[in-house]
């Protein structure tokens, strides 16, 4: 394995490093690049940067590289890295923060399919208050133009009653929608400032 330098000077945007630390509530300065996170990561094989490298990108302020990496979308939030990190660096919170920033800056190219999933998932909650799986699956198929995969599986799940035709019913769906509206407002205000 390649030698990993333990000290690297900030070469990029130090405001970015501070913002990630603040928003994630995680002190990434403690990371000494032991690679435990990357060795334990079950989805490392599908990443471009490994988790410890993303931490390093943030430490040195390489904002573009961090926000446009495939890694932040592939991360499955399994919490293995956070559990095993000897320095209590909560990498999943860092990933959450980087995803939110990438969405805000609209640089999600390498995670487009995953962003489609998240948005569709949340739109369904906004509309129905609970998840409506059949609608979720059909909308994802439409949006990703993937019409044929798992079709037989879907039909079987319908037959077995694992997918419901009828949407969930909530009395106070307005209360759930109001939460989303207030979040929208906060985001809009954040963008103005």
């Amino acid at each position: 394995m390649q030698y990993v330098a333990k000290s690297v000077p900030a070469i990029g945007d130090t405001d970015f490093s501070s913002e990630v630390k603040e928003a994630s509530g995680t002190n990434i300065d403690r990371c000494y690049q032991c690679l435990t996170c990357s060795l334990d990561c079950p989805v490392a094989f599908a990443m471009d940067y490994l988790p410890h490298q993303v931490v390093r990108l943030v430490q040195v302020g390489l904002k573009q590289e961090a926000l446009t990496s495939a890694t932040i979308w592939v991360c499955a939030n399994c919490e293995a890295c956070a559990t095993r990190c000897p320095n209590d660096v909560a990498i999943p919170r860092v990933m959450d923060t980087l995803r939110a920033m990438a969405l805000r800056e609209r640089v999600v190219e390498k995670g487009k399919d995953i962003v489609v999933f998240h948005h569709t998932f949340l739109e369904n909650i906004r509309r129905w208050g609970r998840q409506y799986e059949l609608s979720l699956l059909l909308q994802i198929k439409l949006r990703t133009r993937d019409f044929f995969s798992d079709l037989r599986l879907g039909l079987r799940m319908l037959r077995q009653g694992k997918l419901k035709l009828r949407p969930p019913r909530l009395k106070d769906v307005a209360g759930v929608r109001a939460i989303f509206r207030r979040i929208d407002q906060s985001l809009a205000e954040g963008e103005r400032t």
Binding site: V43, V74, C78, A100, R130, Q160, K164, P168, I179
Partner: protein
Amino acid sequence: MKYAYYPGCSLETTAEEYGRSVRAVCAHLGIELWELPDWSCCGASSGHSTNRRLAQALAGRNLALAERVGLDIAVACPACYLRLRSTRKEVKDNSQNREELVRLIDMPYEAKYDTRHLLDIICNDVGLEELKKRVVRPLEALQLVSYYGCYLVRPPEVVGFDDPENPQSMDRLLAALGAEVRDWSGKVSCCGGSLALSRKEVAGRLVAEISEMARQAGAQAMVTACPLCHSNLEIRQADGKQNKLPVFYFTELIGLAMGLDGAESWLKKHLISPFSLLASHDL
């Protein structure tokens, strides 16, 4: 033992058999589940993956509903379990989070009540001795591995009623039902459930590894407490060429061992039929 029961979306649809077996088993064991009226989705995992405040508010609405009635919450889905517990912790640790949450949900919330997973309640409150007494059809010679996945045990400062690396509760529970529980190294591996719809090939590879580890440990089936793991393990095993290992919910096996009505109807909903395995063990 009375809890505000938060079923979560999956237990009414893709994991209906889990939902039904949870209710039957709890009724049998004297755990009163009072369904939280008008509960809404906890937002896992798209909520926290995109917006922390939204994640807190979606979980927080349900926490606030339970606080109104003054009950601890019982959940069966580990993803809901983690979201509800994380939100309560974030609010308790930071008053600014609390104020922001209260504003977003427009309901009072003081983080007074706990959220417990049913595996925790059954193992630690009901107790395995009590469980053993009620077994009428021991799961003799059924070789199983317990698959805990991620959120029952991680992150331990938020969840953690069991060891994060080598949890034992489900192993002991299955042994109490008479099964032969195999030790293995896949207990807390991630199945990639959160990528099951967006990166199928990634989830497929993880499921293939986990089921292979289970086979190598000599298991005839895997046992889970998570609706997302269950769907993912069933669906993505189906893509593979290997013999498929049936996947049980721990509550289904409790129901089976206690001779509860309806056990057969739960198992009929599985995509990988466990009936020939069970028949070969006279169950």
